[in-house]
Symmetry: D3
Subunit: 331 residues, 6 copies
Amino acid sequence: MSKVVTFGEIMLRLSTPGYYRFSQSSELHVSYGGSEANVAISVANFGMDAEHITRFPDNDFGVAATQHLRKYRLPVDRIIYGPERMGVYFLENGAMQRPSRIVYDRFDSAFSKIKPGMIDWDRILKDADWFHYSGITPAISQGAADSCLEAVKAARKHKVTVSGDINYRRNLWQYGKKVDQVMPDLIEGTNYVLGGSTDIENCTGIKEKSFEETCDKFMKKFPSVKKVARTKRESVSSSHNRIYGVLYDGKKSYRSKTYELTHIVDRVGAGDAFMGGWIYASLMKMGEEEAIEFASAAGALKHSIEEDVNLVSASEVMALVREENIGKLLR
Amino acid sequence: MSKVVTFGEIMLRLSTPGYYRFSQSSELHVSYGGSEANVAISVANFGMDAEHITRFPDNDFGVAATQHLRKYRLPVDRIIYGPERMGVYFLENGAMQRPSRIVYDRFDSAFSKIKPGMIDWDRILKDADWFHYSGITPAISQGAADSCLEAVKAARKHKVTVSGDINYRRNLWQYGKKVDQVMPDLIEGTNYVLGGSTDIENCTGIKEKSFEETCDKFMKKFPSVKKVARTKRESVSSSHNRIYGVLYDGKKSYRSKTYELTHIVDRVGAGDAFMGGWIYASLMKMGEEEAIEFASAAGALKHSIEEDVNLVSASEVMALVREENIGKLLR
Amino acid sequence: MSKVVTFGEIMLRLSTPGYYRFSQSSELHVSYGGSEANVAISVANFGMDAEHITRFPDNDFGVAATQHLRKYRLPVDRIIYGPERMGVYFLENGAMQRPSRIVYDRFDSAFSKIKPGMIDWDRILKDADWFHYSGITPAISQGAADSCLEAVKAARKHKVTVSGDINYRRNLWQYGKKVDQVMPDLIEGTNYVLGGSTDIENCTGIKEKSFEETCDKFMKKFPSVKKVARTKRESVSSSHNRIYGVLYDGKKSYRSKTYELTHIVDRVGAGDAFMGGWIYASLMKMGEEEAIEFASAAGALKHSIEEDVNLVSASEVMALVREENIGKLLR
Amino acid sequence: MSKVVTFGEIMLRLSTPGYYRFSQSSELHVSYGGSEANVAISVANFGMDAEHITRFPDNDFGVAATQHLRKYRLPVDRIIYGPERMGVYFLENGAMQRPSRIVYDRFDSAFSKIKPGMIDWDRILKDADWFHYSGITPAISQGAADSCLEAVKAARKHKVTVSGDINYRRNLWQYGKKVDQVMPDLIEGTNYVLGGSTDIENCTGIKEKSFEETCDKFMKKFPSVKKVARTKRESVSSSHNRIYGVLYDGKKSYRSKTYELTHIVDRVGAGDAFMGGWIYASLMKMGEEEAIEFASAAGALKHSIEEDVNLVSASEVMALVREENIGKLLR
Amino acid sequence: MSKVVTFGEIMLRLSTPGYYRFSQSSELHVSYGGSEANVAISVANFGMDAEHITRFPDNDFGVAATQHLRKYRLPVDRIIYGPERMGVYFLENGAMQRPSRIVYDRFDSAFSKIKPGMIDWDRILKDADWFHYSGITPAISQGAADSCLEAVKAARKHKVTVSGDINYRRNLWQYGKKVDQVMPDLIEGTNYVLGGSTDIENCTGIKEKSFEETCDKFMKKFPSVKKVARTKRESVSSSHNRIYGVLYDGKKSYRSKTYELTHIVDRVGAGDAFMGGWIYASLMKMGEEEAIEFASAAGALKHSIEEDVNLVSASEVMALVREENIGKLLR
Amino acid sequence: MSKVVTFGEIMLRLSTPGYYRFSQSSELHVSYGGSEANVAISVANFGMDAEHITRFPDNDFGVAATQHLRKYRLPVDRIIYGPERMGVYFLENGAMQRPSRIVYDRFDSAFSKIKPGMIDWDRILKDADWFHYSGITPAISQGAADSCLEAVKAARKHKVTVSGDINYRRNLWQYGKKVDQVMPDLIEGTNYVLGGSTDIENCTGIKEKSFEETCDKFMKKFPSVKKVARTKRESVSSSHNRIYGVLYDGKKSYRSKTYELTHIVDRVGAGDAFMGGWIYASLMKMGEEEAIEFASAAGALKHSIEEDVNLVSASEVMALVREENIGKLLR
């Protein structure tokens, strides 16, 4: 069975119930989320082996976050712990025209204090098939950026496929480096890139007229990159989005069905669900057309799931791809 | 005032809150439901007398289920009790493209151990106006099938109108009999049938080109059957369905308005709500056109109600038929 | 900074959770609401000073309602207290075609026993910029009607702009006076009127072919009235409305964008949110076109907020007017 | 089987969860309670037939309160309805040294508007074995007092045993009559009286040195009274009380065991539970000693039950009398 | 690190919130529990390796129960799955004098259909240090009894220490065998027995005057048994128990401190917590005196923990043994 | 009316419901607390004017914490805001022998970045009667310590009475200074000190045989200190404590009644409640004996109140001092 390794921060997610605003709610719902861990759990839910590497605080919330990973079948022996705090993100669910809001409280977390040499990447990656990181990790701290690069290099050494979700988060990147000083080194070791034109421009300065042309130039500059995918989202309202995915393999562009997402339950983690689907599809050796449909369906389904993690099986995704069971009552 | 008697199993219904999946939820919402009892309570809510006959476990959950019926004005003196268990059904509410799911845990229930002779049908039906059963009951056990037939025969003897919702549940029917060995005897005593073409085919093997032609052949074979109705549902998603009802009286086919059901709250029991509406309309001697509109509006309204039971009054249904008060804020 | 004063009753609002009907729910959600107070809090949330004048019961619920106002930055020193009860309103949230329902239990409240002379309007209004009342207050009791007129007169004396939401609530008005015996005196001192053609007809008997013609005649009869606004709501269902606002300044009619409000969270207080927006826009000296857009966007946003009060900032309303951030996830 | 009839008001009970104070809680727990109805349900839970007569508002809360009675096996056909409101009581659970608090909002309820002639007492009481009232009912309004007397007279006519819980609630009695102008007429028709020395003094002015001497004089003045019982409560704290019961039959005084009630869950309705136990014991023809033990054990058990009603069976009470199963885990 | 293996059924535990009775509660709290699994998780929480072997249904609840084990660091690869149902137990928390109640619904579960040969005990036990079973497993079905004996024999073969909690549950044992036909074979392979005089008598017929004399005879008959422990519980009420433990090693009897357990949160699983403590203490090679104190403190602490599982660390237990931190607020 | 000013940090308090441990709970209850603010709100609840000075983050949680203060009648105009985070504390309620636990996550909060000069103490204190600080504030950061000293000096200048709760929190004090380098300067300006022998020793090195002797030496060294009080707590368990207070005025020691606190609801903030009571008693010019009884009763009552703040009135405290209403049901 294929094994996927991911690397990044996991935060305590505290969300208001229903559609209450922060100032209204006397209860917060507890869960755990982080872009790369969400990908790993997605892949594990599809039936593959997955492992998430991170650094947790050495307190009750580090324990609880560890249990979160274990619950979804991820090994946790190689997670490391430190005396610092757990990053927190507060979520207020939007509704209708009102946007959703996230308040981050993640500085100085145990993860942000990670340093190269703390993780034995060779041991972790030597039997892995895939390594995944996101643009959030190198934005957190110099140590996190360095560790991420260390991992990418180890992955290359062990011929592990590398994917990167090169999303750019403006309000991170506060440790002195700029995104375009850090990301190119990571992309150099990456084979599958998730990112739209703006992300590519932010990370590398490359900007062409169309997504495909941008990709061409990008893939020329970073020859390790074999495939680029992006998701496209149109927000009619917080409760109603339209999404589809596009996959470009350097030759041809494949576009998935468009999903009309009315009655959205929780959109956080939808990109991670897409990424998880794409990794799964790739490791299952689906063709590009099938792969972009699988990934997009996975991302679409996530919108119906509470919390960060895409709690769906591969067969549930396949059913949506085949337009089976939609809106049914399965007994 | 008219009196309607129904017969069938009631289960403990345990549903996850909001849109949480089974593995996410640390609470389950408790209610009670069963197709025929749902019909009886519907009719009672419309203002008629109704009685539901069943067999409950002789424990706290049998007591609670009895209280559920009593709450809605149903007499419970003729319910019987046994030492076996309460059937349970677990419900996970679907959302958007993700289907709803029911996990049944109903085998060896107190109801499944019912046997002919346990219920004094003569006493129960002698002053009744209507008897209703569904295709679920004969699928549960030989004893349940036999008791159902016993009831239908007693109903005929007392000239009580008989209706049957001949839905076919594939994963029941595990006691050795097949659906087409059992249902014909019941249909022979039935006057109003709720069922689509597939249900009729499953129960009797009759299959013609159109619903109306199928009904013609079906009504010829079962001359007691005077009317056949079906509901038609199109599932855009779990949150958005389109429904309408059709009523065939052997001569003409009547089709209700189509209801655009966006923002579905709970679709379980919608068929029972339709059936309850149809029984009420028939006993109120509405014409076919009015009857199918009333039944369909009742079924549509159910989608806005939490739990199995259609908690709406006849005047609320009539208001929807007349397109009054839709989406208003009534003070 | 501008200061807005409002006058009216605040009730304990007890609502069933989710979409449960009154008979299903073993919990009620507690909040506080009242048309004019909702307006005041709206305006306070936009950043202006606001004060609400009322009479509360001298018990724990009077204290809690006072805390509700204080929480939103309203001074409470001039609120008065009496030995009578707190009015209550019970809310059952509608869904889909099923209408929402309010059961009022507000008779003989502490507010209804208010009398002229109890409030020192001169002191309150001498430094105010705006006074607002609604047609609910004079419908409650003779004392409330008299106090309202006392306030309007004091406002005029101090050259405070006066607005009135002249909505007509048929099931109030039980103290012996009719709406058209009371409202004209209030309207005589009013500069900004919120009300549709029917409201104007109910209050004054004026009825012309179009809203604008009605307004012309109305403004001729009540020369103090400089502007009339109304909101127009089309209810596709309880979960889906369409709304826009219209503002008439005696010369020209300004109509806002239409908002497609799918996935409504709570529509109670939407008119108050519109009124709050209109007052804010007027005090900010926006032009008519900008004002009706601001007021309508405020009213639209309210549908996404739980409870009575429009918990949004002026910049959130402006973003909607400019169609920014709609349905986004703001980090 | 014996049949017990009770008469009195039922209120909507809204209690804060856990130990939150009124100003802290955003949820209220809904149930229904009223002294005499609590007695009736107690007796029904013990297996006897019971009926409660009252007047409810003709709205959703009247329906829900009716369902509350029906749930516990009480017939509701002879309940009457009116256009007025439902009385409400708000409960804040005390803890430790902090007392519990009730805020009543019960004036002008549908029950308070009851009048003699509205209830057909002859029909109701002709096949009854016991009629019970409390001192709350005649304190509510002249109509309630008159109806209560009407009932007591009808009971006497039909030789139905009459019991009265003559508790004196100082803050009721606001309709112009004093307790000692009204209670004597009721007591004249009463056979079993629940009340302590202070209650007897308040109602009749009789005050002797000891409870027994007071009873002697009281029973001499009211020869219909055959037995007097009282409960004695020592409040160590809101969480810890000590109680016992005393029964005097005109000759001898019987005192029950003392119950050490630590970890009190809800003490509201404990007196009603005692009364229910005493009625049951009397109708079961237990001796005085057994009766006072049964009643006191019933009252003790109530402290472990949430809400107003003593949800325990006769065998659970008997087990406590025999000191069986105390604190066990019954499987 | 030591490794402990346990074997037995895990059930879905559905408990009413707070002190509500079954008929009052519209929500049930979900967790998972089973005597032997509780022991394994206890031991894992103390820091040792533990594995629980069972058979789960192949449905969502089997998945959730697997996640429950995984959360607490237990490997789940050797759990097997079948098409049958998940056993359920419903729990109503007692309070004060009112006993707690469990309603079991566990017949025909996936576990009850286990058969010898389904589990590869050799592989599981060859590197284990301890095997634990309880008297519940052989009571469930012939297959469960046979599998348990199979495991005990494999344990002996691999020189794994065997412990048995020989509690006798009268309402199980419905498959045709009696407790004394089955238990002796299991005890023959057991080294550590948890059981009181009554358990020993039920299982083996041995009954002497004192616990120690009973043990002497018992240990003579079953020479593999080296130590016998029992817990002693005095129930002042459901909220207040007194407990201590006794350990007999064939020579001397060691008795722990008595714990005054007021304000009990949840006593289910207290015996399992004691057993977990005893296993840990034994594997840590504590002396008898220290061992019985550790086990008893573990059992005492469990009463403060919600749900079945003793969520405490070894250092928390040791702190209680040393009477440190009791009732403190640790910052 | 007297006015009390306090200074210190307020944190977001996130507590698990009931007795669930951190790893068990999927919900956290939200409130706000901080030692000095708790004192201010206590005093405000007693009816005096109070103001709390702090620095909040400029985000939704800063807004919500501001609303928390406003709710309880505190002016908030002089609170300052900064871009940093809100400190958080996680609370797990202990039960029985199991201790309660707090996990702090408060480093780098907006408050910790406060600097002298940011607050206009002259304006704030010129019309104040009392200023209160605690030993937590100078432990947070150099800036907080400096600001506190700045406030104490301003208070002295304006002849405002100064109190200090000189509790020593070992795991704070991480900015480079030691407690005995900072506290003496603050104590020099303090008139009322809350602290036990250990606190005095930690802050000043003074240690004598008895509390009184320690105080004598302490008051000699710090002649501004006129009174020292301490609370004494004996923890039978987390659910049962015993407390009393001692007040020493340099001549005589006054000891309050001992409170037997069984069934503790929430002990956090009990010391603050005592302090609030002492300030109130002092400003009301109660004698020492009365003052220590009032303060101790206030502290005792807090244990019955959920969350940090002592939500009781002065009359509720006085009732406890007089042993009135204890454990009653007040109607």
